[in-house]
């Protein structure tokens, strides 16, 4: 097995281990800081990694992604604001637990569950990715388009609270993505005769604008509203310690969450937040104590935390084997691969197999790094974040985002793009549009258009090519199924709301 030689390579490289530990800490802090997501941190750190060895750069960012997904739980539990969208489900039980003075228990449960889920996801990735890659080589433009389609439909309609606003956000992303040169014929589109626009809108400045600047503007507006937070330092060990007896009932939820997260992760575009909510819902349905869920059940933390981290590994599969990023973090990692001259796609496992398994080994190590640091240090991290006043934190983030946007390509136009995207991101947040759906569909649209038009060129039977090829058809049906499922569950939710069941409020 390649993974063992890769593991021994990683253990024999102390500087790499240092990078992983640093990434684990950075990810945790970033994830735990309300308003800073792992995706935003990675986007800002991206220019630095240009000068690093590819394995270092990838491992560093990959582990930040993992650790950040976990770190979000700290903010969810302590501040009742999810540090990342992925921890929104954790908040449901985490905050009530913190109010009962059990924040330490809750954070430890989150740590252990995240490690279990993450580990399960990575093992499934390592075992299965070779087979997926071999299969991916047989996928042509029609199949690729069908997978893009499934990804599109799902992100647009599942993440948001409102289908319409989700779809509008996604369509807006598609529209912005078409600016630039036509992928097949090379004609200029929507450039309005502007030279800078012929290159299209850059992903990095767009993301920094939407996720970082937009969030800063949003926080600026909310300055008057105080974030509810709890002092944890006064609690005695009795409340903060976690016994095996307490964790034992959580274990099945963590394992189930691991499977749910891994399954959702492998489908591009679904992402951690959905995995967490599905796992929470499924856990609650099967729980022996469903009446306690939402009021402070440790199981209610184990289920979503395990699932949102289990997404991390398998979501690399479509990225590595097809070059289709399954998440915003995946989209940025795609850029790292390209910058270092590694072509992501079916041939990756022929050309750079060693590097990939070394990256996986770094991921495994990263899980244990954040697990151990988190188990013993989460409450310290939380205190640290509480201590930085927001009038220092946000100006710093604000400045850094300008530097990051400029340094990616050394272009002032990118800075302009970032500022515009920042305003757009703020407005989208203000009016409940879906920024994640916007950015992901921006990323997916280019590949989707290219593969769609290639598929039509390859086809002897026009548009029917998508129905003649079984894998393409399966993914198209999956996409349609996801829409129907979402519409169905939305209806159910609305009915329940009408019946007056607003118990989580």
């Amino acid at each position: 097995m390649e993974i063992f030689s890769a593991l021994s390579f990683v253990f024999a490289t102390p500087s790499l281990i240092g990078a992983i530990l640093l990434a684990a800490v950075v990810g945790m802090i970033v994830g735990a800081t309300p308003g800073l997501t792992a995706a935003a941190a990675i986007a800002m750190l991206l220019p630095i990694t240009y000068y690093m060895d590819p394995l270092f750069a990838l491992a560093f960012l990959y582990v930040i992604g993992k650790s950040g997904r976990y770190g979000g739980s700290i903010a969810a539990i302590l501040f009742n604001t999810p540090g990342t969208a992925a921890s929104a489900a954790t908040q449901l039980d985490g905050y009530p637990l913190a109010r009962q003075g059990k924040a330490g228990k809750a954070m430890k449960t989150a740590t252990i569950s995240s490690v279990i889920g993450d580990f399960m996801g990575d093992i499934m990735l390592i075992v299965g990715v070779g087979a997926i890659a071999a299969l991916a080589l047989k996928l042509g433009p029609p199949e690729t388009f069908a997978i893009y389609f499934a990804a599109f439909v799902v992100i647009g309609s599942v993440i948001g609270k409102s289908i319409v606003k989700g779809l509008v956000s996604a369509l807006f992303g598609v529209l912005i993505a078409t600016v630039g040169l036509d992928p097949i014929s090379g004609e200029e589109r929507f450039t309005f005769g502007t030279f800078d626009l012929t290159n299209g809108i850059g992903l990095v400045p767009l993301m920094i604008g939407i996720f970082v600047l937009g969030e800063v503007f949003d926080q600026l507006e909310k300055r008057q509203q105080k974030v509810e937070s709890l002092e944890t330092s006064e609690h005695d060990d009795d409340h903060d310690g976690l016994t095996w007896k307490e964790y034992k009932p959580c274990l099945p939820h963590a394992v189930r969450g691991g499977f749910i997260g891994a399954a959702i992760g492998i489908l591009p575009g679904l992402g951690s937040a959905i995995a967490a909510f599905v796992s929470y819902g499924e856990g609650k349905r099967r729980a022996t104590n469903p009446e306690q869920w939402g009021k402070g059940a440790l199981e209610g933390i184990a289920a979503p935390e395990s699932a949102n981290n289990a997404v991390s590994g398998p979501s690399m599969a479509p990225l590595l084997t097809l070059g289709i990023p399954g998440s915003t973090i995946g989209a940025i990692l795609l850029g790292v691969f390209l910058i270092h001259g590694i072509q992501v796609g079916p041939t990756l496992f022929i050309t750079s197999k060693e590097l990939i398994y070394q990256l996986f080994a770094c991921g495994l190590l990263g899980i244990f790094a954040y697990g151990i640091i988190g188990y013993f240090g989460a409450s310290h991290v939380a205190k640290l974040i509480l201590r930085i006043p927001s009038n220092v934190l946000y100006p710093m983030i604000f400045l850094t985002s300008f530097i990051a946007a400029y340094s990616a390509r050394g272009s002032m136009f990118d800075v302009l793009v970032m500022v515009c995207a920042g305003v757009v991101g703020w407005l989208m947040r203000k009016y409940d549009f879906n920024t994640a759906a916007f950015v992901i569909s921006f990323v997916l649209a280019k590949g989707a258009e290219e593969s769609f038009r290639q598929a039509l060129l390859v086809s002897d039977s026009g548009i029917l090519v998508f129905f003649e090829r079984p894998i393409a058809l399966a993914f198209l049906l999956l996409g349609v199924g996801a829409i129907l499922f979402r519409v169905h569950s939305m209806r159910r939710e609305r009915k329940r709301e009408l019946a007056g069941g607003l118990e989580d409020a």
């Binding site: 240009y50 047989k138 996928l139 042509g140 030279f195 072509q343």
Partner: protein
């Protein structure tokens, strides 16, 4: 208290920024990393030259060379971005000269291959070839021609983007043999190769060096040249097979945006000459199936001017 710490943080950040800025202005070239724009995806032949150049530059150029892939539109996308950069020597372009020239001739663009850039040097040469999946029913170029004659327009062929030299060579091959087939453009040689390997198309026109490392998945039927390739010498040339073709190949060029200072140009040209002669440069290229071919900037430019007058009659018929 809070306000004071805020001001302190902001002023610290601002002063750091200003120090960095003034240092960059005062310093001699090169003081910070040089971006090499490659207007194709990573993994292709042109990209291989840029990667090898960046690796072999150590010891000759003191700052890192950073390869930035800007694929799309037959190389014009990256060219436009390089042209938009300041002509200060910190953004240069490494491109496939033949594809670049052809794109500027066949597309509506403001870029002129000879006028928009200053020529630093030529560092290599790329040849295209007809390649099929390893278990394709076509064992020879003649098999492909026969199949295309039997069912005109039914064959599909992959290439790395319309307007590139692979595309023009592929069209030239069809025209010279009086056959028809549908082209399917991909963004760069790497994705085109993946499509051929996955049997998405019947054949493809991609760089001969692309077979290297993929001998089990691909079969080369013919090299679009008079002679066989020096590195991948198992594939016969079209001339050897007596098959009419359009003799287009592509010098790998390093270009700088027009207006780059003389001193910088001289430094880059001298450095590239030194790097091209290094054994590790040829070693790195050999792994990817190519070899160094050095020409000074002025010679490289006159070669492109010559090619321009040669291909003008050919592409008039290909313009879409």
């Amino acid at each position: 208290m809070k306000r004071r710490s805020f001001i302190a943080a902001v002023s610290a950040a601002v002063s750091l920024f200003m120090v960095a800025g003034s240092a960059a202005q005062a310093a001699d070239y090169p003081r910070r990393p040089i971006n090499i724009v490659v207007p194709y995806k990573a993994g292709g032949g042109t990209d291989a030259y840029a990667r090898a150049l960046a690796a072999a530059a150590q010891g000759t150029i003191d700052v890192p060379l950073v390869v930035v892939n800007k694929p799309g539109s037959g190389g014009l996308n990256g060219a436009q971005s390089a042209l938009g950069a300041r002509p200060d020597g910190y953004t240069i372009m490494l491109t496939s000269g033949g594809s670049f020239l052809l794109s500027t001739l066949t597309r509506k663009t403001r870029i002129d291959a000879l006028e928009s850039f200053d020529y630093v040097a030529q560092v290599g040469r790329l040849k295209t070839s007809m390649i099929v999946p390893a278990n394709s029913p076509y064992k020879s170029v003649h098999d492909v021609i026969d199949a295309a004659k039997e069912k005109p327009g039914s064959l599909r062929w992959a290439h790395s983007g319309r307007g590139g030299f692979h595309y023009v060579a592929g069209l030239g091959f069809l025209k010279a043999n009086g056959i028809e087939a549908q082209d399917v453009p991909f963004k760069g040689g790497g994705p085109a190769r993946a499509a051929i390997m996955g049997e998405q198309t019947d054949y493809g026109f991609i760089g001969i060096q692309q077979i290297k490392g993929f001998e089990a998945q691909l079969r080369g039927l013919g090299v679009n040249a008079d002679k066989r390739d020096e590195i991948v010498d198992s594939v016969p040339s079209f001339k050897e097979l007596d098959i009419p073709f359009a003799n287009v190949s592509s010098p790998v060029l390093v270009l700088a945006p027009k207006g780059t200072p003389e001193k910088v140009m001289a430094y880059l040209e001298a450095s590239l000459k030194e790097i091209a002669a290094k054994p590790e440069f040829s070693e790195l290229l050999k792994k990817r199936g190519t070899a160094p071919v050095y020409l000074a900037g002025s010679d490289a430019k006159s070669a492109i001017a010559q090619m321009k007058s040669d291909v003008l009659p050919l592409i008039d018929g290909l313009k879409k």
